[in-house]
Symmetry: C2
Subunit: 217 residues, 2 copies
């Protein structure tokens, strides 16, 4: 059975958006798996993968890291239901994936970073604070205090997603990796935070319900 | 023959990115057309279309406005070569189209707006200055003076496009409306400005050459 090395916080909370992408693909394809919980401070346990970031999967002798590479691996391993169900869709999904990483995560991160800090494993708190404060150029407390300032950017990003979805069940009409990728983002935000996501975006809210039901996650 | 109402500046320069999208589709499908030059101050000449923005096409009795609606109309009119060549690609192209409108144009506009002002028809200068200064919240001259400040945002946007394209001939692997849409953006920028676009993005520069050759534009 596939083993997924999955980021874990206190009280077994699973919040990595990249690990959620992999879990969404596994659920969509109904591929059985178990998870190996990994804290930030357990990075040495990933040394076998030749790098130090989750997700990593072990499938027998095969080791694959990086959520995008894992998605392609799983699509090759078990074709149906396809996450790239036609010509050009793997490339289109790769573009959407980049958009989520840059634009959607960029808009979410300042809002939820202090929430994540509250949920990481106690052993990870120092590492998380130091690395994230360096990335942000300010303290976690300062970011938490500026929540209201960061909210409009996230709401603008969600409005763009709402506009894309309007009149469709899935982002590219049919369900593709694009939906699974974005699903991971919202699992991340909702796992750690009470930040309201869908109050002004009814199509996105309906999509979120549809995805949760379809994936059972 | 199809008539395209096409924005025109001084010396017959054609710079609207949205009109270029339509011309790119017409060229790709090898559909013959003529253009009717329209200045900003000629908007009343578009009244027959029920709105006041270019592009508008007249195909016999049929009138279609909005570059996205025109793209779909032309795809229905003449199927081959297809701009949405498979399942999910119309929706994926619509997302990319929105991304270009919001993100790519948002990054280009502050850099080129004063260049556009220099190229609009003399009759359009007052309208252009007033409307754009209102949108920008500052003067065209102030924007021109801040060119260097705005350049990193455009270069970051181009770097994302470069990353998307890496190893592929077209953005979704095969040529789709995505390429034609973005082609319109670069025709816009290069028609009015000397702003360097491709100095740090070799894959994008090669794609630009490939598109120009393929479309003959």
């Amino acid at each position: 059975m596939i083993e997924l090395y999955d980021l874990v916080g206190a009280s077994d909370v699973r919040f990595s958006p990249f690990c959620w992408r992999t879990k969404a693909v596994l659920a969509y394809k109904d591929i059985p798996y178990t998870t190996v919980p990994i804290r930030f401070s357990d990075k040495d346990k990933l040394a076998f993968s030749g790098q130090d970031r989750v997700p990593v999967i072990k499938d027998g002798d095969k080791v694959v890291s990086d959520s995008w590479a894992i998605a392609k691996y799983l699509e090759d391993k078990q074709r149906e239901p396809r996450i790239f169900p036609g010509l050009g869709l793997q490339e289109a999904c790769r573009f959407f994936n980049l958009y989520v990483d840059r634009t959607v995560h960029g808009a979410c991160f300042p809002l939820v970073v202090s929430d994540i800090f509250a949920k990481v494993d106690p052993a990870d708190r120092d590492y998380f604070r130091t690395s994230r404060e360096e990335r942000l150029g300010t303290t976690l407390e300062a970011m938490a205090a500026k929540r209201a300032e960061h909210r409009p950017k996230l709401q603008a990003g969600l409005a763009d997603l709402e506009a894309t979805l309007a009149g469709q069940d899935y982002f590219f009409g049919v369900l593709t990796y694009t939906d699974l990728c974005l699903f991971g983002t919202f699992k991340w935000v909702t796992a750690v935070s009470d930040e309201p996501l869908f109050s002004s975006t009814p199509a996105l809210r309906a999509w979120w319900g549809r995805m949760r039901e379809r994936l059972g996650l």
